[in-house]
Amino acid sequence: MTPAPVPGEAVVLRRSRLLQQWQLVLPLALFFAAFVLGPLALLGYVSLHADVSLEEASLTQYTKFLGDGFNLGVLGATLWLGLKVTLLTLLIGYPLAYLYSVSTSRWQGVLMLLIVLPLLTSAVVRTFAWLVILGRQGIVNELLVAVGLFEMPAKLLYTPAAVVVALAQIELPLMVLPIITVLAGIDPNLRQASLSLGAGSWRTFLRVILPLSAPGVLAGCLLVYASSVSAFVTQTLVGGGQQMFMPFYIYQQAIQANNYPFAAAIAMILLASVLAIVVTVNLLARRMRGVVHG
């Protein structure tokens, strides 16, 4: 007869394990409470005040932001920029991830290096590269003048399109990597089965591969979106002074105008809009997963 397990022992064991886990996670939790959640909460608190001295609590900052066409324009331009960048990276990032998934392992190594290298190269350097490329004496202008498309070098820098292209290039790895991961997890037999049952390449892609890779696509889209709406350096340097986006607006109001409550309100509005989009897409993803797995 086997001895019955002693219930008390298991409980003690589990409790000590739980205690240990709490102790392990405590430093990180305290750090985050003190230096991430605390400051963000304080930012929210500051944004709910009328003036810098924080004497009068009011919603003035928010009504000021939401009641002004210029401010709403900045918010709209920022979110619209995020959307354009996301779509462009998806358009060229997905094929690259697909190419990776069907390449031999030797080529996969090369492609991976090409994708990871830019990701870890300084974003300031990569932004600077676009100033060199799109400048009046840059390669694009020189080429366009040389083939006779332009008579004179055109203003390419500081245009909305320049910001979109530069950001798309900078965020591209963030789109490609999650899609690569999800494509690697798809059973290759599914593709073979679809092809041998008579569906063509396009149909196989649209009906089999694309739906199955949806979680990776959504993850990539979220990363690119969140990252591009807050890409302060690229937005400022490639966009120039005429185009205003939310991150620069925060910086300007806080550092240059010393209007902390208003800067805090802009930051909260940007935070809220990013958070709202992330949560919505995540909910959407959960529902889609239900559809894919029947």
Partner: protein
């Protein structure tokens, strides 16, 4: 083998052509900007004209002869990134040990809180920290700069640590325990060696992200301490000095070497996904 109809071959051809063309654009986009900056950094001219009028090493020489500002900024950046990475590695590995493979709600919740700096606009966090330190009267200093950088680098290490821990074979830990190893001894001799590549990859990515950060440093450094990306940004914004290209060239070269070395040693690319 069934012979393929002309139509289906053409159909496959267009599919491959579209995938190939779009991938080619993506690959060119990934490589070209870096290459162009590298080429321009060897210009003999005074401007960032491409193609350069001639070749020289004068801008690299300028880095060594008359750029104390850049060296000071680079040193500060290395110090901040190094310290922040060291602190966040300890925090994240401890946290990862508690959170990995823990399906409970509190663990999932904490995990998403700790990951949030990856998604949130870092500029908002920078502003929040600035106000926070002002309210508590500490002002900004090297310490606050390191704290800010630690907050944004922790998620990278936590992610790779948790991923490595979840691939760890639990049987190994069970056998260590049944052979009499205490938790600390088991961690040192079994867990740590097995998760070390993941932790190292995470720490490497965290270091690079910290070294490159502008949004946090902009708010948290005082007037005297300027980190390299901000110095570089100021150069680019004010007069587009060609030294910026030479600094970029150095950064590109160092990054490339580090990435290739780290790829060989710990397999960085497996951990960025």
């Amino acid at each position: 083998m069934r012979s393929e109809s002309v139509a289906s071959r053409a159909e496959r051809g267009t599919f491959n052509a579209v995938v190939g063309a779009l991938s080619a654009i993506a690959i060119v986009l990934l490589i070209a900007p870096t290459l162009i900056v590298l080429l321009v950094s060897f210009t003999s001219g005074q401007s960032l004209r491409f193609p350069p009028p001639g070749w020289s090493l004068r801008w690299y020489q300028a880095l060594f002869t008359d750029s104390p500002d850049l060296w000071r900024a680079a040193t500060l950046s290395l110090q901040v990134a190094g310290t922040a990475t060291a602190i966040s590695t300890v925090l994240a590995v401890c946290g990862g040990l508690a959170l990995a493979r823990q399906p409970r709600l509190w663990a999932r919740f904490l995990d998403s809180v700790f990951m949030s700096p990856l998604m949130l606009p870092t500029l908002a966090l920078g502003l929040g920290l600035l106000v926070w330190f002002n309210v508590f009267g500490t002002g900004v200093s090297m310490v606050t700069l390191v704290i800010g950088h630690t907050a944004i680098t922790t998620p990278y290490i936590l992610r790779t640590t948790c991923a490595s821990l979840s691939q760890l074979d639990e049987v190994l830990l069970e056998s260590a325990k049944s052979l009499g190893a205490g938790p600390l001894f088991a961690f040192r001799t079994v867990t740590l060696p097995l998760i070390l590549p993941g932790v190292a990859a995470g720490a490497f990515i965290a270091f690079m992200m910290s070294f490159d950060n502008v949004a946090i440093s902009l708010f948290l450094s005082d007037a005297r301490s300027e980190v390299l990306p901000i110095r570089l940004w100021n150069i680019i914004e004010s007069n587009l000095d060609v030294r910026a290209a030479a600094v970029s060239g150095v950064l590109i070269a160092v990054t490339t070497v580090l990435v290739i070395v780290m790829e060989r040693v710990v397999g960085v690319s497996r951990h960025v996904r």
